[in-house]
């Protein structure tokens, strides 16, 4: 065993073998892979649920399942995708793996807490699974709106506890990241030399830390209501159900920025590498991340325009919502300007990133339709919202996740995958995605409500098309993962820097050794300086 052996060969703590070298490890890279394993499990599960929902909706009336099953399925699809996949996916997997390396550290600040977060995630998963089998799966939707979540007979309490525990896990990860970035940057790395992915995780971590406790207490209150019938949200006992919605969205709107900010960080890393050009507006991207984190915390009530609010409140929240669009647009402009006159190298991660920019822009712009108080009344709670949300979360964060998988796969596993299959998969996913969600925009404007089990015959064509798109999408995703997993048959011979990246993770071997850096990392004045890369890599020599 030498210092340059990869972390796969060097268990930490030393001396453990097999499964134990994983289950009690405090190495941030192993914990990241354990996250990858369980998060993918849930992702596949929730994908199948989503496909079943869309299959049910492909024709009028009952297609494959009853109404109660359908309600349970869309609830679980939402709960799993949000709390078990999108929120932890990029921070817990790629953040854990890369954040310490990007700032030249050998681990996160609290390694034990990091492992505890993983176990909390598992505990939350167990609660989520148990709600399936005991007392009937929950049927409230992932928003758990009162009064229904208090009065329904299904096992909502277990799901609420799952979300509570998962919130704690995500909060502790955020706490760990903030402390790590403050205290463990390698000597000589100043704040404006931190790579943008780490910056985005820093902004995310603050939102995780400051928003999650509000959700925790809100979910606990619903559990208390179910147990003790206190009446805090029960209008017949003096409570106000609307206050639940306020408290819920005070977390859950910032939570969508927990979901999207790390994705934006991924894209900010990938675009400059394959444009062979310094990122346009480094400081603007940093500032916009922080601006999104702050402004995004002040817009929660735009989910409630039809719930009953004063006109002044509607106006203020609508205005604030429009303001959040500005920092998001700054990022999109920066990415595009980075590519302008760059020497672009097409690779699978870049293709996914381009998909991200396009789909996220559509998602963001349709968000303005929803954020404007007038048009919101028309499309509120219709399929338009479903389409918007999935464009941002799936077309945004989901595509960023796929891009990150392809970008850092050789770094994490030391193996390169087949490019041709990856391109085919990426194209299928994008086309399937557009076919799947575009009809929902039109259905929404026509008035098709979300979450309904059945609909009028005039909506059938759109739903049928969406279903077909869904099957193309799923096939593409399956092909993508098969391609990635097939890389395990290849030799472990990926270069330390297969792409020509400039941040610190590309200066260490693939996969990295246990202590990340064999010799002290060398800090460049500016993290995105490609002058050496341009000399070393001739155009078109990435294979």
């Amino acid at each position: 065993m030498t210092e340059t052996d990869s972390f796969f060969e060097t268990p930490a703590p030393a001396g453990y073998k097999g499964i134990w070298s994983w289950l009690i490890t405090m190495d941030h890279k192993r914990i990241a892979l354990m996250y990858l394993f369980v998060i993918l499990f849930w992702f596949f599960g929730a994908l199948i649920l989503g496909l079943l929902i869309r299959t049910e909706l492909m024709s009028v009336g009952k297609t494959i399942m009853g109404a109660q099953t359908y309600n349970a399925m869309f609830t679980l699809h939402g709960v799993i995708m949000i709390f078990l996949f999108i929120i932890p996916a990029i921070p817990a997997i790629f953040g854990n793996f890369l954040l310490p390396i990007q700032i030249g550290a050998d681990d996160v600040f609290f390694p034990k807490l990091n492992l505890l977060s993983w176990y909390l995630y598992i505990l939350g998963s167990i609660f989520a699974i148990s709600s399936l089998f005991f007392g009937g799966p929950p049927d409230t939707g992932w928003t758990f709106y009162v009064p229904f979540s208090v009065s329904t007979n299904t096992n909502v309490s277990a799901t609420l506890m799952a979300a509570f525990i998962l919130g704690m896990s995500s909060m502790l990860t955020g706490l760990n990241f903030i402390t790590t970035i403050h205290r463990m940057r390698v000597k000589g790395m100043r704040w404006l030399q931190i790579p943008l992915f780490t910056w985005s995780l820093y902004a995310t971590a603050w939102v995780q830390l400051l928003a999650t406790p509000i959700l925790s207490i809100t979910l606990l209150l619903v559990v208390f209501e179910r147990m003790f019938a206190i009446g805090l949200f029960d209008a017949s006992k003096g409570g106000d159900p609307l206050l639940y919605q306020h408290l819920f969205w005070m977390y859950s709107h910032p939570a969508v920025y927990i979901m999207i900010l790390p994705g934006m960080g991924v894209i900010s890393e990938i675009i400059p590498v394959f444009s062979r050009k310094s990122i346009f507006g480094y400081k603007a991207i940093v500032a916009s991340s922080m601006a999104i984190a702050i402004a995004g915390s002040l817009v929660w009530a735009h989910h409630m325009f039809t719930s009953g609010m004063s006109d002044v409140a509607v106006f203020v929240f609508s205005l604030l919502t429009f303001l959040v669009a500005i920092p998001s647009a700054v990022k999109v402009f920066s990415w595009i300007s980075t590519m302008y006159k760059g020497s672009i190298q097409m690779t699978p991660p870049l293709l996914f990133s381009l998909g991200f920019i396009y789909l996220f822009s559509v998602g963001g712009l349709t968000g303005l339709v929803l954020g404007a108080a007038g048009t919101n009344i028309h499309v509120h709670d219709t399929h338009f919202v479903v389409a918007h949300f999935h464009f941002v979360m799936f077309g945004g964060t989901g595509f960023a996740f796929f891009a990150a998988l392809h970008f850092w796969w050789p770094k994490i596993f030391g193996r390169m995958y087949d490019f041709k299959r990856a391109y085919v998969a990426a194209t299928m996913i994008t086309i399937g995605f557009i076919f799947h969600y575009m009809p929902m925009f039109i259905l929404g404007i026509m008035g098709h409500p979300r979450r309904y089990y059945d609909y009028m015959p005039r909506f059938e064509t759109g739903n049928m098309l969406a279903g077909i798109g869904g099957y193309i999408l799923i096939t593409g995703i399956a092909l993508m993962f098969v391609n990635l997993f097939l890389s395990f048959k290849n030799k472990r011979d990926a270069l330390a820097d297969p792409w020509g990246g400039t941040t610190l993770e590309w200066s260490v071997p693939s996969p990295p050794p246990l202590h990340n850096f064999v010799s002290p990392p060398e800090i460049k004045d500016y993290p995105y300086d490609f002058s050496d890369v341009v000399k070393k890599f001739k155009p078109g020599n990435i294979t």
Partner: protein
């Protein structure tokens, strides 16, 4: 080795971040309190009159004394008197026990008078009063839970001082547990006027 860095400034930063999350947890309840106070000001004042100012005041003083003991114990360990430090922490734990005992009596009296969640008297009475006592039970209950957690942490500290794992030069754990105890204290400082001094 990677796990043995001793950056007390860093671990204190982590603790402070954690304390923010605890404050925000209670903030959710305080928001509810504010919204309902605006809706039912008269009922809230009536509810506040029914709470025992005596118990509330005694518990406030008790918690302040225990916080002093915890703060003093950190100073004691820095002056190398481990026994004094452990004694002060143990005293703080016991005072915390007295707080819980008082709370138990107070809750017991209320329940005896038919004031408890979903009690017929409350549900059929004025809605604001039901909300006031609903919040009373949730807020003081959650705070009591934090007292218990704090007491467990302090017990761990006593044990670690006696086995010489906390000593002069390595008092980070004691200081962080102490911070937690002060947090529980300061949250009570907000709860006391909101519930007892509203009149």
């Amino acid at each position: 080795m990677k796990t043995t860095h001793s950056d007390t400034k860093g671990s204190r930063l982590g603790m402070w971040l954690f304390l923010y999350t605890e404050i925000l947890l209670f903030t959710g309840l305080f928001i509810l309190y504010a919204a309902y106070l605006k809706k039912y000001p008269i009922d809230f004042i009536e509810g506040g009159k029914e709470l025992s100012l005596f118990f509330g005041a005694v518990n406030t003083v008790i918690l302040l004394i225990s916080s002093f003991a915890v703060a003093a114990s950190v100073t004691a360990i820095r002056k190398q008197s481990a026994k004094l430090s452990a004694g002060l922490i143990a005293a703080a734990v016991m005072i915390g026990g007295v707080f819980l005992f008082n709370k138990y009596i107070e809750w017991g009296q209320k329940i005896h008078h038919g004031i408890y969640p979903n009690a017929p008297d409350l549900v059929n009475g004025p809605p604001g009063k039901n909300i006031f006592f609903g919040l009373y039970y949730v807020i003081t209950g959650l705070h009591g839970l934090h007292i218990i957690i704090g007491m467990i942490l302090l017990c761990v500290c006593v044990f670690m001082i006696l086995t010489n794992r906390i000593h002069e030069g390595n008092d980070g754990v004691l200081e962080n547990c102490g911070l937690y105890w002060h947090l529980v204290d300061i949250i009570w400082i907000f709860i006391f006027p909101l519930l007892y001094l509203i009149v």
